[in-house]
């Protein structure tokens, strides 16, 4: 059979196929309707190796780890590697509890066919969640293995010792291995939350830096199982490009069908409602057809987007709902009782994830089974969402997590997967690879939400904050698919597609809106607005904007008090761990620090989500008014993430968070006009480049006996405020609208 021709379909229920495949006006140029899908496995892509099937009950030990005859172990995590170094850290945890060398522990990540359902890899929760589950499972496994060994060797468990997967009795000549004890029968017992865990003082693997093996693949371009989804090349693969509308909500009116079909390599067009895509043998052929369709497809445009200039001023009049996060009775009365009130309004624009690798997915549909390879942060929720979109049973879909470019939240990954899935059912038996074009990634990813934050505070006679009010307006900060078809971009444009998306999750908008400081009277209101742009979770959600505002405001209050910003913070801080990170950074930069002409240091602090890692950051900036140049020269951070699993991984994440936040803070703002988003490449949406990147230093405060805390998003907010505070100390100008630019300093300074 010609590998390029789709499997014939004659004996299938064609109406059912058309409903699912839904190519309404345009069919495949090579489509032949003379047989039924069948020999899919013959092409041996592995695509349908184990589709669907219920995962093991995640209360069972063997849902999390399996022991091999050679006593090595495979760990199963429902979380996905997205550049954060999670896999080696989880292996360290398992190796530690099982007394195995790190090399003896392998790991399988997020796969609905193999791993537990751990929902999303998000919220800096992988070590706290998956790490805890794997630690408990490993500790339970060790306990069970010791019990079996005690039976086998005829001695009490307390007399046994374990090393490298070998359990040895007291007389040293009797021993048995993990592999022997399991002998093909996995540990099916329930995970015991109280199984004895190793004492931190005895750790050999946890708490020590361990390299990430996938970096060898990354630096060589070698082919390996830990490769990127972008590099997945399955036999018979077809390249697809989706033609997005010119603006949100545009409706497809006409397509130059014959012209596109005649292009070299083009296999077919899929048009379903206003969802339009082209499939071709070659990737460049698909791109050429995409370019022609971009120019020549005709769309009905909706009403223009509202003017960007009015975004923030219009927010208070557009609230569609309110949540009171903290309240105090008689707020206005309290403000009337003080001598002076400080007020300030801060804004944070829409900002993008901006992955360097545009979103990509591969999907294959054969024998009624759909397999999707994706860099989505949530394979299980994505499976449910795709099932709803395509009206397929979830059990017939397998979603396999594969490494992608860093996403920093909910970017286009799930949407690309939905695109590929939709196209795969239209072209059964051939794997379909979709990679978004750069302009589509920029224009269509769900951005981090714009926020307006209005703060008001007052000091008592001792220069302590007596009353504080925050009123914030924000769009929601999560529209993750979560099992709902409506949040998938493709679904929103399908003929007869789902109802519009839900309201999303406002909670992210007031994440970290509560100051970490002791404040007697605190009032916080979060107002939901529905902004003009597509939004979802971007690293730290609303914490970035909230901490930027709070920690800028703390410096404004300190100035009102006539006190040093570090001393002023410390006098409002009772949490010893918060004090410790702040003091560590202050000490490291010899606060207030020395700088050159036009420079200054600024400082800021937060505890992510008010329950995860503590992070303080000091920033040194330099402003050259003649050259109109604002630079961040150095960032020094201190982080307390409780028990540190992999110090180098924590350091790497924190360095990266500080640099990424510096980029957001100095440069980033999505722009649009009535006709659509105008941030379409790296010139219209610049990010920090190497020569502008500050030197970074991270101090780790390890607390081995404390629980590990999520750390991957902890630096975002403090870095922004530290930069803003440094700018003020250097220039005397308070910039309250992100991004903080030399241009704003100049125009404000006039």
């Amino acid at each position: 059979m010609d590998p390029r021709s789709p499997t014939p379909l004659a004996t299938c229920d064609r109406r059912d196929f058309l409903r699912r495949a839904g190519y309404l006006s345009i069919g495949f140029s090579l489509l032949g309707l003379s047989g039924c899908a069948g020999e899919a496995r013959a092409s041996g892509t592995g695509a349908g190796a184990a589709p669907g099937g219920p995962p093991l009950d995640d209360e069972r030990v063997d849902a999390w780890l399996r022991i091999h005859p050679d006593s090595s172990v495979t760990v199963f995590t429902g979380k996905i590697a997205i550049g954060q170094g999670i896999l080696v850290a989880l292996r360290q945890i398992a190796a530690e509890e099982l007394d195995l060398a790190l090399d003896a522990v392998k790991i399988v990540m997020a796969d609905t066919g193999l791993t537990p359902n751990e929902s999303y890899t998000a919220g800096s929760a992988s070590i706290e969640g998956s790490g805890r589950a794997i630690r408990r499972a490993a500790a339970t496994a060790r306990m069970l293995l010791l019990e079996r060994a005690a039976d086998r060797l005829g001695v009490a468990t307390g007399l046994l010792s374990v090393a490298g997967g070998v359990i040895t009795g007291p007389d040293r000549d009797a021993s048995v291995t993990y592999g022997d004890l399991v002998a093909g029968e996995q540990l099916t017992a329930r995970v015991a939350a109280d199984a004895p865990q190793k004492k931190p003082a005895d750790y050999q693997v946890v708490g020590h830096p361990r390299p990430r093996p996938e970096i060898v693949t990354m630096v060589t371009g070698a082919k390996g199982a830990d490769d990127y989804v972008q590099n997945l090349r399955l036999p018979g693969i077809v390249h697809a490009r989706v033609v997005r509308p010119p603006v949100y909500g545009a409706a497809l009116r006409s397509v130059p069908e014959a012209e596109v079909r005649a292009m070299p390599g083009v296999i077919g067009l899929v048009r379903d409602g206003s969802f339009l895509a082209v499939l071709a043998e070659g990737e460049y052929q698909a791109i050429q057809a995409w370019q022609l369709l971009r120019q020549r497809a005709v769309w009905d445009r909706p009403a223009p987007l509202p003017a960007q200039a009015e975004l923030f001023s219009a927010m208070p009049g557009r609230a569609t709902g309110t949540e009171v996060v903290a309240s105090v009775a008689g707020l206005e009365q309290k403000f009337r009782q003080v001598l002076a009130t400080v007020e300030a309004t801060y804004t944070r624009p829409y900002q993008m994830h901006g992955s360097i690798g545009p979103s990509c997915a591969v999907a294959a549909y054969r024998d009624g089974q759909l397999t999707i390879w994706t860099h989505s942060q949530g394979v299980y929720p994505l499976r449910a969402s795709v099932a709803a979109m395509l009206e397929l049973p979830p059990a017939d879909i397998r979603v396999i997590g594969v490494r992608g470019a860093g996403c920093y939240g909910h970017n286009g990954a799930d949407d690309a997967a939905a695109d590929a899935a939709r196209l795969a059912v239209a072209l059964p038996d051939r794997p379909v690879r979709v990679q978004w074009m750069r302009e589509d990634e920029h224009a269509w990813e769900p951005y981090g939400s714009a926020m307006r934050l209005q703060l008001r505070g007052a000091l008592d006679g001792n220069n302590r904050i007596s009353v504080w009010e925050t009123r914030l307006w924000t769009d929601v900060h999560s529209h993750r698919p979560g099992g709902d078809a409506a949040e998938l971009l493709a679904a929103q444009y399908l003929e007869g597609g789902p109802e519009p998306p839900t309201e999303g999750y406002l909670g992210g908008g007031y994440r970290n809106s509560q100051p970490i400081y002791r404040i007697p009277d605190l009032h916080i209101e979060a107002h939901r607005i529905e902004g003009p742009l597509r939004v979802s979770a971007l690293r730290s959600l609303g914490a970035y904007g909230n901490i930027f505002a709070i920690e800028s405001f703390m410096d404004e209050l300190a100035e009102q008090a006539g006190e040093d910003p570090v001393a002023f913070r410390l006098k409002h801080l009772s949490d010893e761990r918060a004090r410790a990170v702040l003091e560590a950074v202050a000490r490291q930069v010899d606060w207030p620090g020395s700088t050159g002409e036009g420079g200054a240091w600024g400082i800021a602090l937060a505890r992510y989500k008010n329950e995860a890692a503590y992070c303080a950051v000091a920033a040194e900036i330099a402003y050259d008014p003649a050259g109109e140049r604002l630079r961040v020269l150095r960032l020094v951070g201190a982080i307390d993430a409780g028990q540190v699993i992999n110090p180098d991984g924590l350091r790497n994440q924190t360095e990266g968070g500080m640099i990424q936040s510096a980029s957001w803070t100095l440069l980033e703002r999505v722009t649009w006009e009535g006709g659509g988003v105008t941030s379409l490449d790296w010139e219209s949406y610049p990010i920090l480049r190497f020569p502008e990147v500050p030197e970074v230093e991270v101090l780790l405060i390890d607390r081995p006996t404390e629980a590990p805390l999520g750390a991957g998003e902890a630096a975002q907010g403090p870095t922004a405020a530290a930069i803003a505070n440094a700018v003020y100390r250097a220039t005397g100008q308070r910039l309250r609208e992100l991004p903080l630019t030399a241009e704003k300093l100049r125009s404000q300074g006039r």
Binding site: V219, G221, A222, I356, G357, P358, W682, E683, R689
Partner: protein, 158 residues
């Protein structure tokens, strides 16, 4: 419209019937199945698709196969393998200079071109040589450190 074009990639000649206007990137990724060069932006702004063209770092997403014909093209794969890492690759592994790693192709090839010209660059020279490469994870400081380390450990007579 396609024509016979010969490309020299990593020391080997490949002759194929190609659309002469196809960017080199798609030939490298899809015909030769090379993983080093990656699609990032398609307009020479991010460096993910970097190759060495006659020894100079050059994005491959706009450069056509016609323009690349008869030139000496080297990709990341020409430097070393997991078992025999090039000193630059080894330095990146030692420093753990990666988060998602998607930018490393561009970073390593720009560094290779730099060190071939200037074996003892300053930090500022390293940063300048990497300016065409975008990293979104914020791994910049480690990447610069890795290049400096490779420069220190590579014999300059090589």
């Amino acid at each position: 419209m396609s024509q016979s074009i010969t490309l020299r990639v990593n020391g080997q000649s490949h002759t194929a019937q190609l659309d002469p206007e196809m960017p080199l990137l798609y030939f490298l990724r899809n015909a030769l199945e090379l993983n080093g060069p990656k699609y990032g932006c398609g307009v020479q702004q991010c460096g993910a698709c970097m190759v060495l063209l006659d020894g100079a770092a050059q994005p491959s997403c706009v450069l056509t196969v016609r323009q690349a014909a008869e030139r000496e093209i080297e990709t990341l794969e020409s430097l070393g393998t997991p078992d025999r890492l090039h000193p630059l690759q080894r330095a990146f592994v030692e420093v753990q200079a990666a988060q998602c790693g998607y930018c490393l192709n561009g970073a390593i090839l720009c560094a290779k071109a730099l060190l071939d010209e200037n074996p003892s660059p300053t930090r500022a020279e390293i940063s300048a040589a990497l300016e065409r490469v975008l990293c979104r994870c914020g791994t910049h400081s480690r990447i610069v450190r890795a290049v400096a380390r490779a420069a220190e450990t590579t014999p300059t007579t090589e």
